[in-house]
Structures are given as structure tokens and as C-alpha cells.
Amino acid sequence: MTLPADTIEASFRGRLGEFSLEIDLSIPAAGVTVLFGPSGCGKTTLLRCLAGLERLPGRLIVGGEVWQDASHFLAPHRRPIGFVFQEASLLAHLSVRRNLLFGRHRIKAAAPIGFDQIVTLLSLEPLLDRGVGKLSGGERQRVAIGRALLAQPRLLLMDEPLASLDGQRKSEVLPYLEALHEELAIPVIYVTHDGVEAARLGDRMIPMRDGRAGHAVDLCAGLATASQELLAQRLAERGAEGLVAELQAAGADQLLAGLAVAALQAGLPPVGKA
């Protein structure tokens, strides 16, 4: 049993337009938790509810602090989070350096994550004095990640940060995300519909479908290099035998993507039961 101080307890119920969300989650506030599912399943909405950018009826307790309950809603700018949007969304009137420092300048407490550290980690040195209009897609997203980290988040929320990048740019940014994971001990909630990203970055995965979240699935460390037999075994344990047979016939890349899909199917409660 995890101590409440180390968990994120989230429950939301409600409608936003045509869409309805019904979430009850307890996530360990450590490592990378991947919210995984097809587009339109509510994972971005859930992430925005965690940030306070959307407001649905519910309860949110992060590390023992109440961020939202029936009588209380902590405004997004008072939540110690970092948020990386799908599009880099850099502030067009500021240089790269001033984008990076936007959040940091507004922190009054100590700042354990240093400017130089982030600039080195994300290789931002040559970009610092440029305007944001003169960056490539991958560079923009790296600046956005650095900017979120320099706001000294206790929780980093990432909404498909690689989805707007093409294959080459994606593989340019992915190593930085892995380095981040190794160097900084900030819990991350990472939204994606890409099985390869989920497998490479995630410590655990929460499958989502139709506005509901399934049980968390542990993704063993070094999943990307694990043997097919091990993966197949893990899938079989979760009752996805049919898929395993198909996946064993396929290549490794497909296996990784398939694992995510299988976990999605195995982890979800049967539809119509609730």
C-alpha cells in the first residue's frame, strides 16, 4: 500500500460538450505513467483536468494536497505543474531564452532545476537568443519541454508532445525525453496513442477508452529490449492469448505497439458493466 503522500488520487465525472468522462484513478507519483488510448478516448481531457485547464466535477489530491474537491478548486497557475502541449505553443513575442525563463521568473521558492542544467540536457545553447519563429518543429518542442521543467514542477504533464512531429523529428526528441527520465526525479504523466512511445518511456500504462480508464499495467524496465517470449508471457498472463499468437508472427516493432493495444483490451473492465 502506497502512502497517500506519494500518490495522485483523481476522480472526475462529467460532460464536456458531447463527451463524457468517468475516471477513478490512483497513480503513484513517481516515474512515467502513460495514459494510452485512441484519439477521442478522453486522455487529453483527463490531463487538462489534472492541470486545472478544464473543470469537471470531481476530486483531485496530489501528494496529500487537495487541488480540487466539492468546495475547492486550485487555479491552474497555483498548481506546481509543468505542462507540455501537443504543439510547442511558444510565446511568439519572446526569445527562446525568455520563453524558458517565463515560468522560472515567477517561482519564489528555491529552484532545484537549474537553467544551465536544462540548457545542457536539451541541447538548447545555440538556440537561446533566437526568436521562436526561426526554430524547427523538434527544436520548438525541446524549448517547450525545457520551459515546463524550469517552472520547477512537482508533476510534469505531457500531452502527446511528439504527435505533431514527423518521424525524423520524433526520433530527434525521444532521446531527450529518455534522458529527462533518468536525470530528473519528477513524476510524469504522459499522454500518447503511440505504442512505441508508451513502451520506450513508460514505467506503467493506464489504458483509456470512451472516457474511462482501465487498471494500470506495469511496463517492465527496458521493455524495448526485452525478449519476445517475455512480452508474450506478460500478455498471456493478462488474457490476451489470441493477440499474442498474432504478434509472435509479427516483427518486434509491431509487437511493442501490439503490447499496448493488448494491455488496453486486457486492462479495461468489460463494457456495459458499470
Partner: protein, 221 residues
């Protein structure tokens, strides 16, 4: 002649300064509010575009005159009327040019969209902080266009100034009124000079507006 020119520029300058301050919160509200009745306020603000200036000038003359209930608080401190005064002209010009300030600033605020404010919020900026550190700088082209439009529109106003100001030398006698008077007095040479001056000014204004539009359009793409 120089005092007329100075008075005209002073009126336009003061009007522009007052309007930039007044129109900013109003435009912000019109751009961001979701209430349906904001369009009623929007229509009231836009009214001077279609209202004959003489109608506006007539109502302003009554509202700022000695028998107006609006003037009661000012009469308590010894100001009997604002009609036929420079201050009255500033108020009239502010009302008359209000839509030319609100429209470009409102559009500029709307063009920013929701995302930069979400970014600012997740980076610890309060809504007020984000207004100054994100909204105002991103809407800068709108403010420049508003300032140019208001300044030029105030230089060019005639009907309101005539009704409300009466063309008192040194107090309310501005360029457009002077040209009218010169033509009445058959002083064609002087009228030519002033009219030519305003023509060149108007052309410079339109050219600068188009150049700004071209530049901000290029920045967006």
C-alpha cells in the same frame, strides 16, 4: 495658423491617449466575455460609425451643457458647462472615435486565442500577470493600428466639433473647421494649403496602416 495646427494635434493626441486607456479593458471584455448581451454593448460602441456626426454632436451638446443632469457633479466644483470648451471636445472626440479604437484592439485580443493564456497559467502566471505579460505584447499591432486610426479620425472630424465646439479661436477652432471658414470667406489660397496638408496626412496614414497589416500578416504565417 500655427495655433490652429497645434490645437488640432493636441486634441488628436489627448483623444488618442485617453482612448487607448479606455478602450483596452472594454475591448478585452468584448473579446473574452461569453455573455450574449456583450453584443449590445458592442453595437453601442460601434454606433458613431453610422450615426450622423451632427446627431452625435447635438446629443453631446445637451449632455455637456449647463442644464444637463450629467453636469451636476461638475457644477458642484464650479464647472458650469463643457460645451464650447477644449475638454468638451476631448469628450466628444473620445465618443466619436471609440469604435476605431475598440475594433482593432478587440480583433487583436481575439486573434491570440486560448492557448497562450493556458501556457501562461501552467507557467504560474496569474490572469492579471498574463494580461500584461502575454495579452498586451501579443496584441501590439492592434494597439498601433488603433492609435493611428483614432489620431487620424480625430484630425478629420468636423460635424461633432462644429456642433459641440463652435470654432472658438484658441479653444475649439481646429483645422477642419478652419478650412470650412476659409472657404466661406473666399480665402481660397489658405484653404488650398490646409486642404493639401490634410490630404498628404491622410495618405500617409492609410499607407502606414497597409504596411503594418502587411507586416503582421507575414508574421502570422
Amino acid at each position: 495658423m500655427l495655433d490652429i495646427l497645434w490645437l488640432t494635434v493636441k486634441l488628436a493626441g489627448v483623444t488618442t491617449a485617453v482612448l487607448l486607456v479606455l478602450a483596452t479593458p472594454l475591448s478585452w471584455w468584448l473579446a473574452r466575455s461569453r455573455s450574449w448581451w456583450k453584443e449590445i454593448v458592442g453595437a453601442l460602441v460601434a454606433l458613431p460609425i453610422v450615426l450622423p456626426p451632427t446627431v452625435l454632436g447635438f446629443y453631446l451638446l445637451i449632455a455637456l451643457g449647463p442644464h444637463s443632469p450629467l453636469m451636476a457633479p461638475l457644477q458642484a466644483v464650479g464647472v458650469r458647462t463643457l460645451a464650447f470648451t477644449f475638454e468638451g471636445l476631448v469628450i466628444g472626440s473620445v465618443v466619436y472615435s471609440l469604435p476605431f479604437a475598440v475594433q482593432p484592439i478587440r480583433n487583436a485580443f481575439q486573434a491570440i486565442g486560448e492557448r497562450p493564456f493556458e501556457v501562461a497559467a501552467t507557467l504560474r502566471a496569474s490572469p492579471l500577470d498574463a494580461f500584461f505579460s502575454v495579452a498586451l505584447p501579443l496584441a501590439r499591432p492592434g494597439f498601433i493600428v488603433a492609435a493611428i486610426l483614432v489620431f487620424a479620425h480625430t484630425i478629420g472630424e468636423f460635424g461633432v466639433v462644429l456642433m459641440l465646439g463652435g470654432g472658438i479661436p484658441g479653444e475649439t477652432d481646429v483645422l477642419s473647421i478652419e478650412i470650412y471658414r476659409l472657404v466661406e470667406a473666399l480665402e481660397w489660397d489658405k484653404a488650398h494649403q490646409l486642404a493639401g496638408l490634410l490630404l498628404i496626412f491622410a495618405f500617409a496614414v492609410m499607407l502606414s496602416l497597409l504596411l503594418i497589416e502587411r507586416r503582421t500578416g507575414r508574421l502570422r504565417t
